[in-house]
């Protein structure tokens, strides 16, 4: 019986986590923020994201202002109202930091939420090369002039 309740609660936590993820996705995808926005700067991100993409770059240039965005998720557990808050810092369209904070109301929730948090994968964040003062970089194969020119031609043809 108790086990059944457990799995029930687990399902709720999972559901809450899914809702949370959805909130974050919405925050990124449709510029809909249920939370607050701080540290906004006036820099407008350029084409950081489009570099990685296809020939249809014209359509996919979504730009977000630099700053920290916080989305909060709330749900009611048998122990009362619970909250999870995710903060994401954006610079030039790249996530440069993110944190998850939880505000568990009951001891049970504390346990479940820490389970949720340990399942949260650590993700890479970007730092500008200038700030870390590095001149040598390893990554994608730097392309030659020829490839870049060919790609530019294709892109401009796709636009016209």
């Amino acid at each position: 019986m108790e086990e059944e309740q457990h799995s029930n609660k687990n399902q709720k936590i999972i559901a809450a986590a899914i809702v949370l993820v959805a909130v974050v996705l919405v925050a990124f995808g449709v510029s809909y923020f249920s939370g607050k926005k701080k540290d906004e700067t006036t820099n407008t991100p350029t084409t950081a994201i489009t570099d990685s993409s296809n020939t249809n770059t014209t359509a996919s240039t979504a730009t977000y202002k630099n700053g920290s965005y916080t989305a909060e998720g709330k749900y009611v557990s048998p122990g009362g109202q619970e909250g999870v808050s995710v903060t994401v810092t954006l610079k030039d369209g790249i996530v440069t930091d993110s944190t998850v904070e939880t505000t568990p109301a009951s001891p049970d929730s504390k346990e479940y939420q820490s389970d949720f948090k340990s399942g949260y994968k650590s993700q890479v964040i970007g730092k500008s090369l200038e700030s870390i003062q590095l001149s040598r970089v390893s990554g994608s194969s730097l392309t030659s002039q020829g490839f870049n020119e060919a790609l530019d031609t294709i892109k401009s043809q796709a636009k016209s």
Binding site: A48, G126, K127, R136, T143
Partner: protein, 316 residues
């Protein structure tokens, strides 16, 4: 009393970190940056060294490039027969055959026509054909008994998976043979660094979405670091790696880095990791790796020589 002036520089009298010669140029479709450290070279000597390097690269290109009409690879694509391959083919084909077996055919030099059909061809068409060619099996086309390669049916070979890393090894050999022991060769992000005093060189690990950012800093000495990522060399839905089974470019990985004793191994394994988990390769090679997945999560071997910039797991 005279006091020493505080300085950020290491108080070292050695010339190991002083640039003796610095060459930057485009070759084999990528940007090269070669720095030789030590006592400054006289202009004539530097020019001679650069010419020797360019000649070696051109020789490699003339044998193994599928983008050249006059290459050995182009000849093999035109007619079946038995070819005497140059001596430097053996280590490369050996690695390719090993990786072919370890990845169940995913890493293969027989992918040339397929890559070309996606638009990655000699003239950088970058527009996929309606019909993308299937990839023939190794056994059906090639029989390699060094130095002889017997080609049963014409086939377009591609050495893009490990060729660039291998070429950095060959240029390192060239420098070493001329008595240079401190140098950094960077062929479009595939880097080999040699230091007689084993000083580590910091290298930024490029953010897969933004070439002006790094997601970490690697420190290497006397080894190779190769990276592979679909972000710059990409067109339509493709990048430079195509899965022979799906005929699509893998999208589950944003970037891979491998360190190993040679550029050949590091470059080849970086490609292989797009297809198989590191576990599959660890018995056959000594290497360290880091993978950034499509959700920006990071997986790396315990001793990959880098610090990473990550968001801390909550509560950590």
């Amino acid at each position: 009393m005279k006091r020493s002036i505080p300085s950020n520089r290491k108080p070292k009298a050695s010339t190991a970190n002083v640039t003796a010669a610095h060459f930057q140029f485009d070759a084999i479709g990528t940007a090269w940056d070669i720095e030789v450290f030590g006592k400054e070279l006289a202009a004539a000597k530097a020019a001679e060294l650069k010419a020797t390097i360019l000649k070696r690269i051109d020789q490699f290109d003339k044998h193994y490039s599928r983008f050249r009409n006059d290459s050995l690879v182009t000849a093999i694509a035109k007619s079946a027969g038995t070819y005497d391959l140059p001596a430097d083919a053996q280590p490369m084909l050996k690695l390719y055959h090993e990786l072919y077996k370890l990845t169940s055919g995913a890493v293969t030099p027989l992918i040339g026509q397929t890559l070309s059909d996606t638009g990655y061809d000699a003239s950088y068409t970058l527009i996929p054909k309606k019909q993308i060619s299937q990839v023939p099996s190794w056994e059906s086309r090639l029989n390699y008994q060094p130095p002889r390669l017997t080609v049963t049916e014409p086939v377009l070979l591609d050495f893009g998976a490990a060729g660039k890393g291998y070429l950095t090894d060959l240029i390192a050999d060239l420098l070493q043979a001329r008595g240079y022991a401190n140098y950094c060769i960077n062929a479009g992000g595939d880097i080999v660094y040699h230091s007689a005093t084993n000083d580590k060189l910091p290298i930024g690990l490029e953010h897969p979405d933004n070439p002006d950012m790094a997601i970490g800093v690697a420190h290497i000495a006397n080894q190779s670091l190769c990276g592979s990522s679909g972000n710059r060399r990409s067109w339509d839905t493709f990048h430079h790696i195509v899965d022979p089974k799906s005929l699509q470019s893998p999208q589950h990985i944003k970037a891979v880095w491998v360190t190993a004793e040679s550029g050949l191994i590091a470059d080849g394994l970086a490609t292989a990791l797009f297809f198989v988990p590191a576990n599959k390769l660890k018995n056959d090679y000594t290497f360290e790796y880091a993978i950034v997945a499509d959700d920006y999560s990071l997986e790396h071997s315990p001793h990959f020589p880098a610090e990473f910039f990550t968001n801390q797991p909550p509560g950590a």
